[in-house]
C-alpha cells in the first residue's frame, strides 16, 4: 500500500479505529437508563413462583385455595392452567447426531427435576403480595432419588434425571485423526492430568426480567424482555403460543448484562407470556437473586482427563482428551447444552501445529439447574487443559514456557491452516502475539524478581496462555441443526430530510458499545460524524430481522452489515446528487456532511440539501430518480464458517503458601481481533472478559450438596470477583483483519474470558512448583491450594 493509498483509506474511514466514547453511556451516568425491571404498565400484574425445594420428586398435590384468597392476588396458575397453551420445547439439534432431551413446558407437571423447578405461578398487584401468596400454596412432593454426580449418573442402575430417558447420556461424540495412537506410542514424553472445572453462573447484575403485554383487542403481544436476541424470542413466542409472528413484538431496552445467559428460553418468561395471553393484562416477572441462582443457566461443569504426546525436542505430537460435562435435567432450548462441550473438544490444542488428536465428549443429565452457553462457550476449558499440559511438558523438558510455545504455535506465515480437530484458520498471529507479550510484560525482569523474592519466602508465579477464539459464526453453529436462529443480520440506513442519518440494525446493545461502533462505521460510509448517526437496536418492530448479539458476531457481522447498508445508501445519495448536480456520481464522494468532488474534496452540496430536495421537492428531480434515501442490507458470512481470532494472556500471582490465598498482581493480554473499530471499547471488552475468566478461576462456584441442593445461592455466599481482588490489566494489540469481509473485523467479547483462568492457573502452579505441588481444579480455593501443598 502506498502512502497515498493509506491517506485515502484514512480519509475514507476517519472514524473506524478511533476511540469514540459511547453516547448512550450518558443516560446511565445520570440514572436515566431504562431497563425492563423499570417498566411499569397500566393494570400490570406481578408474578412470583412457587418452586420445588427438592432436586427430584413427584408432585402429589398442589393446593392453591388459600393462596387465591390472599390479598392482592388475581390468579394462581399451575401446569394444568398454563401448559396446554404452549407447545412443548425440546433442546435438541439435528447436527448433534442422536442427542436426546426430554420435552419441557412452562410449569412442572408431574415431576420436579431440580431444586428451583417452578411449580406454580402467583399473579398479584405487587410482588410482595405475590410472595405472600406463594407462602400459602401447599405443595406436597414425594421426594425421589436425584442424579447429582455425572459419573454416577452414567452407571446403568442410576435413576434417570428426567422422565422418558433411556439413560442419562444426552450426547456423545468422538473426533479423532488416524495416527493418534501411533503418536502416543512413539512419543518421547507424555504428560497428563485430570481436571475439574466447577459450575458457575452469569450473575448479571440486572436479573432476568420480562414484561409480557397481550392486547386481546388487537391480538398484539408485546414482550419487553431483557435479552440479547429479540428476533429469536419473537419466533419462539409466535410458534409456541400459536400466534402470528407479525403480531409478536419483542423489545429489548437497556439490558443489565447478559453474557449469553439471556438468550436461552426459561420457564418463567414463557409463564409470563402465557399468563398475559390468558388474562389480557401486562405481566411482569423480575427474578430475584435467589431465583436467579436456581433458574438462570449455569455454565461449565466439566471433568476432563487429558494427555499430550511430545517428541524429544518438545514438539507436540498429539492430544487425547475425554470431557464429561454435566448439564442438568434438560438440554436448553433453542441452542442445546451440547455446544459447550462440542467446543471444548474442538478447541483443544488450537494454537498448535499438533497433527493428531482424539477427543471424546460425554454430555450427561443430572438433577441440577441446566447449564448452557455462557461467555466464551467451551473456550476456557479447552484452553485450560491444553495450556496446563503445555506447561507440564515445559517443566518436564526443562524448557521455558515461552520457548515451548514458540516451538509449537502455528507459524504466522503458515496460513491458511487446518487444525487436528478440523477447524480452518484463515490467518492468525501467534508468533507476533508471543513476541509482543514478552516485551509488554518485561518477562525476563519478572523472572528475575520472582527468583529474588523466592529467596525471601515469597512465592510468585507467572503463567502464560495463548488462545484461539471462534467469532463471526455463520449458520454452521445452529442453523444447520434446524434451529430458527438467524445467522444473518440486517440494517436499514436512511438519510433524514435534514441530512442526518438513522440506522436500525438487528444486532443489540448490552453495554459493549454496539451502537457506537455501528455509528462509526455508518458515519464513515456517509461522510458524517458518528454523533449524527442515530442507531436503533433491540426492537423487532423497528429493526430488521437478524441474529443479534452472541458468539462475538456484533462487530464482525453486524458491523459488516452496517457497512454494506451504508455503502448502498452512499450509492443512492451519490446517484441522486449526480442528477441534481448534473455530475457523474463516480466523480462525487461524501465527506463532512457534504457531497464533495471526489478528486479535490471541494464541497458541492450539503447532505441536508439532498434530504430537503428528496423529501419536500421531489417534483424538481428528474423522472425515475430514486428519492428513497433508505437502504437495507442483510449480510451473512459466506467464506469461512467462523472467523478465528487469537491472542495470549499472562498472569502474575502471589500465593500465600501458608493460607492458600492467591493474590492476582497483574494481568496482560495481547489480542488480535482483526480490524479494531474502537480501541476504547475493545480494551474494555477484554478487561471485562478477563475478570469473567478470573472469577471462576479463583472464586465462583455453584456448590451443591449430595442431595442436589445448591448451597450458596446468594451473593453473600457465591463469590463474584470484586474490585479489591482483581488486578490491573495491560493490553496490547496485533491486527490481522479477516479478508472474509470488507470491514475486516472479528469478535473480541470472549477473548478475555477464554484464557484468563488458565493464565492464573499456570501462574499458581508456577508459584507452587518449589513445593512440587500442583492444582488442577477451579476455582482454586484456599482449601484446594492447601490440599495441593499437603497441609490438609
Amino acid at each position: 500500500m502506498t502512502l497515498q493509498d493509506t491517506n485515502t483509506a484514512a480519509a475514507r474511514a476517519p472514524h473506524i479505529g478511533q476511540a469514540h466514547r459511547r453516547q448512550t453511556a450518558r443516560r446511565h451516568l445520570a440514572g436515566r437508563g431504562r431497563f425492563v425491571s423499570d417498566i411499569v404498565l397500566p393494570r400490570m400484574l406481578h408474578a412470583a413462583f412457587v418452586r420445588s425445594p427438592m432436586a427430584r420428586g413427584r408432585i402429589v398435590e398442589i393446593d392453591t385455595r388459600d393462596a387465591e384468597q390472599s390479598p392482592g392476588v388475581v390468579r394462581v396458575f399451575t401446569a394444568r392452567d398454563l401448559n396446554p397453551s404452549c407447545k412443548p420445547w425440546t433442546g435438541t439439534l439435528d447436527h448433534f447426531a442422536s442427542m436426546v432431551s426430554a420435552p419441557q413446558n412452562i410449569l412442572a407437571e408431574e415431576e420436579v427435576l431440580w431444586a428451583g423447578h417452578p411449580v406454580a405461578m402467583v399473579l398479584a398487584r405487587t410482588r410482595a403480595e405475590a410472595e405472600d401468596a406463594c407462602e400459602l400454596v401447599m405443595l406436597d412432593i414425594e421426594e425421589g432419588e436425584a442424579c447429582v454426580d455425572g459419573h454416577a449418573a452414567l452407571s446403568g442402575d442410576a435413576p434417570r434425571a428426567a422422565p422418558g430417558l433411556d439413560s442419562n447420556l444426552c450426547f456423545q461424540t468422538v473426533l479423532e485423526t488416524m495416527a493418534v495412537d501411533a503418536a502416543f506410542a512413539g512419543a518421547a514424553h507424555v504428560v497428563e492430568g485430570d481436571f475439574t472445572f466447577g459450575r458457575h453462573t452469569a450473575v448479571t447484575l440486572e436479573p432476568r426480567s420480562v414484561v409480557a403485554d397481550f392486547d386481546a383487542a388487537s391480538e398484539q403481544l408485546t414482550v419487553h424482555h431483557g435479552t440479547q436476541t429479540p428476533y429469536q424470542f419473537q419466533d419462539i413466542y409466535a410458534r409456541h403460543f400459536g400466534l402470528s409472528e407479525s403480531r409478536v413484538r419483542v423489545i429489548a431496552p437497556d439490558v443489565g448484562g447478559s453474557f449469553g445467559m439471556k438468550l436461552h428460553l426459561y420457564n418463567e418468561e414463557m409463564a409470563a407470556v402465557a399468563a398475559s395471553l390468558k388474562l389480557g393484562r401486562p405481566v411482569k416477572f423480575v427474578a430475584d437473586r435467589l431465583e436467579s441462582f436456581v433458574s438462570d443457566i449455569h455454565a461449565r461443569d466439566h471433568k476432563v482427563s487429558a494427555r499430550m504426546a511430545l517428541d524429544a525436542e518438545g514438539t507436540i505430537l498429539a492430544m487425547e482428551v475425554d470431557d464429561m460435562t454435566q448439564i442438568g435435567a434438560f438440554s436448553t432450548y433453542p441452542r442445546t447444552s451440547v455446544a459447550e462441550g462440542n467446543q471444548v473438544v474442538r478447541l483443544m490444542g488450537a494454537p498448535y501445529r499438533m497433527p493428531d488428536y482424539r477427543g471424546r465428549l460425554s454430555v450427561v443429565f443430572q438433577n441440577k439447574v441446566q447449564t448452557s452457553q455462557y461467555r466464551a462457550v467451551g473456550h476456557p476449558i479447552a484452553c485450560a487443559v491444553t495450556e496446563a499440559l503445555v506447561d507440564k511438558a515445559a517443566a518436564r523438558l526443562g524448557v521455558d514456557p515461552f520457548e515451548i510455545r514458540a516451538r509449537n504455535v502455528v507459524p504466522d506465515d503458515a496460513y491458511p491452516f487446518v487444525s487436528a480437530t478440523g477447524y480452518s484458520f484463515e490467518k492468525l498471529s501467534h508468533e507476533a502475539c508471543l513476541a509482543k507479550l514478552r516485551d509488554l510484560m518485561d518477562y525476563d525482569a519478572l523472572r528475575a524478581e520472582q527468583a529474588a523474592l523466592r529467596e525471601r519466602g515469597i512465592y510468585r508465579g507467572i503463567g502464560i496462555a495463548p488462545f484461539v477464539e471462534i467469532t463471526n459464526p455463520g449458520a454452521a453453529f445452529y442453523g444447520v441443526g434446524g434451529a430458527r436462529i438467524s445467522a444473518q443480520d440486517g440494517a436499514v440506513v436512511r438519510l433524514t430530510p435534514s441530512g442526518e442519518v438513522q440506522c436500525a440494525i438487528s444486532v443489540t446493545e448490552q453495554g459493549q458499545g454496539t451502537e457506537t461502533i455501528i455509528s462509526q462505521i455508518v458515519a464513515d460510509q456517509l461522510g458524517v460524524a458518528p454523533e449524527q448517526v442515530k442507531v436503533t437496536t433491540g426492537d423487532t418492530d423497528t429493526t430488521p430481522s437478524g441474529g443479534a448479539t452472541w458468539a462475538c458476531r456484533g462487530a464482525g457481522i453486524g458491523g459488516e452489515t452496517a457497512l454494506r447498508a451504508g455503502r448502498k445508501l452512499q450509492g443512492q445519495i451519490l446517484a441522486l446528487a449526480g442528477q441534481i448536480l448534473q455530475s457523474d456520481p463516480a466523480d462525487l464522494a461524501l465527506a463532512d456532511g457534504h457531497v464533495v468532488d471526489a478528486q479535490s474534496g471541494t464541497r458541492r452540496m450539503p447532505l441536508a440539501e439532498i434530504g430537503r430536495i428528496a423529501t419536500y421537492r421531489p417534483d424538481t428531480l428528474p423522472e425515475a430518480a430514486d428519492n428513497s434515501l433508505t437502504a437495507a442490507e442483510h449480510f451473512a458470512p459466506s467464506g469461512y464458517p467462523f472467523d478465528f481470532t487469537n491472542g495470549i494472556q499472562a498472569s502474575l500471582v502471589e500465593v500465600d503458601v501458608e493460607t492458600g490465598i492467591v493474590r492476582l498482581l497483574k494481568h496482560w493480554v495481547v489480542e488480535d481481533c482483526g480490524r479494531i473499530i474502537n480501541p476504547l471499547l475493545v480494551d474494555e471488552q477484554i478487561r471485562g472478559g478477563v475478570v469473567q475468566g478470573l472469577g471462576p478461576a479463583l472464586f465462583e462456584e455453584c456448590l451443591y450438596d449430595e442431595t442436589g441442593q445448591m448451597t450458596n445461592a446468594s451473593l453473600a455466599d457465591y463469590l463474584v470477583p470484586m474490585a479489591c481482588e482483581m488486578p490491573d490489566i495491560v493490553i496490547g494489540h496485533v491486527e490481522t483483519p479477516t479478508n472474509d469481509t470488507i470491514l475486516g473485523a472479528k469478535g473480541v467479547g470472549e477473548a478475555g474470558t477464554a484464557a484468563a483462568g488458565v493464565a492464573a492457573l499456570n501462574a499458581v502452579n508456577d508459584a507452587l512448583s518449589p513445593f512440587k505441588a500442583e492444582i488442577r481444579q477451579t476455582p482454586m480455593t484456599p482449601l484446594r491450594i492447601l490440599a495441593a501443598l499437603g497441609h490438609v
Binding site: 453511556a25 443516560r27 451516568l29 445520570a30 437473586r289 471485562g688
Partner: protein, 162 residues
C-alpha cells in the same frame, strides 16, 4: 397497616403513606419513579442500590422507607441534576467506565461519597471503597481509573483555579 412518612428526597419534600415492609429502594423506584436506584441482590451484597441517606452512602434495599422518615435522601437523579457529580460523570464517560449501566449509579454514589471523605485516595483505597460494589462488565479497572482521574483533576483545579 400503612404509615405516613415525610422525608426530603433530592431536595423535594415528600409525603407518602407506605407499608412498613416497603424498602427505601422500592419506595424510591415505585413511589417516586426514581428508577436510577437499582436492585441487584436485595441483601446488601452488590451495591447497585446505594443512595445517600443523611449524606452517607447506604443500601436502599436494607433500609425500610419508614426508617428514612424525617431524613434526607439523595439519589443518582438528584446528584446528577444538581451538577454535584458532573466531573465524575465526565470521567466515567471518557474512560468508558461502564458498560450495561446497571451498577453504574451505585458506583457513582459511592465514588462521590469517597471523594468527599478522601479527596486524594490511592488506587488501593479506591478499590477498597468499591469493595461492596459489584460490576460484571468492566473488570473494575476503568472505574478505578475514572475515580482516580476525577480526584486528580479536582486537586489540580484547586491548585490552579481557572
Amino acid at each position: 397497616m400503612t404509615m405516613d412518612i415525610e422525608l426530603t428526597v433530592n431536595g423535594e419534600h415528600v409525603r407518602e403513606s407506605v407499608e412498613p415492609r416497603m424498602s427505601l429502594a422500592d419506595f424510591l423506584r415505585e413511589r417516586l419513579q426514581l428508577t436510577g436506584t437499582h436492585l441487584g441482590c436485595e441483601m446488601g451484597a452488590c451495591g447497585a442500590c446505594l443512595v445517600l441517606l443523611g449524606g452517607k452512602p447506604v443500601h436502599a434495599c436494607l433500609v425500610l422507607a419508614v426508617q428514612a422518615a424525617g431524613e434526607t435522601v439523595e439519589t443518582i437523579e438528584g446528584l446528577s441534576e444538581s451538577g454535584a457529580i458532573a466531573d465524575l460523570q465526565a470521567a466515567f464517560h471518557d474512560r468508558n467506565a461502564l458498560q450495561c449501566g446497571f451498577c453504574t449509579t451505585g458506583m457513582m454514589v459511592n465514588a462521590h461519597a469517597l471523594l468527599g471523605d478522601n479527596p486524594a485516595p490511592e488506587r488501593a483505597e479506591i478499590r477498597d471503597a468499591l469493595s461492596g460494589n459489584y460490576c460484571r462488565c468492566t473488570g473494575y479497572e476503568a472505574i478505578v481509573d475514572a475515580i482516580d482521574a476525577t480526584a486528580r483533576k479536582r486537586a489540580s483545579d484547586v491548585e490552579a483555579p481557572a
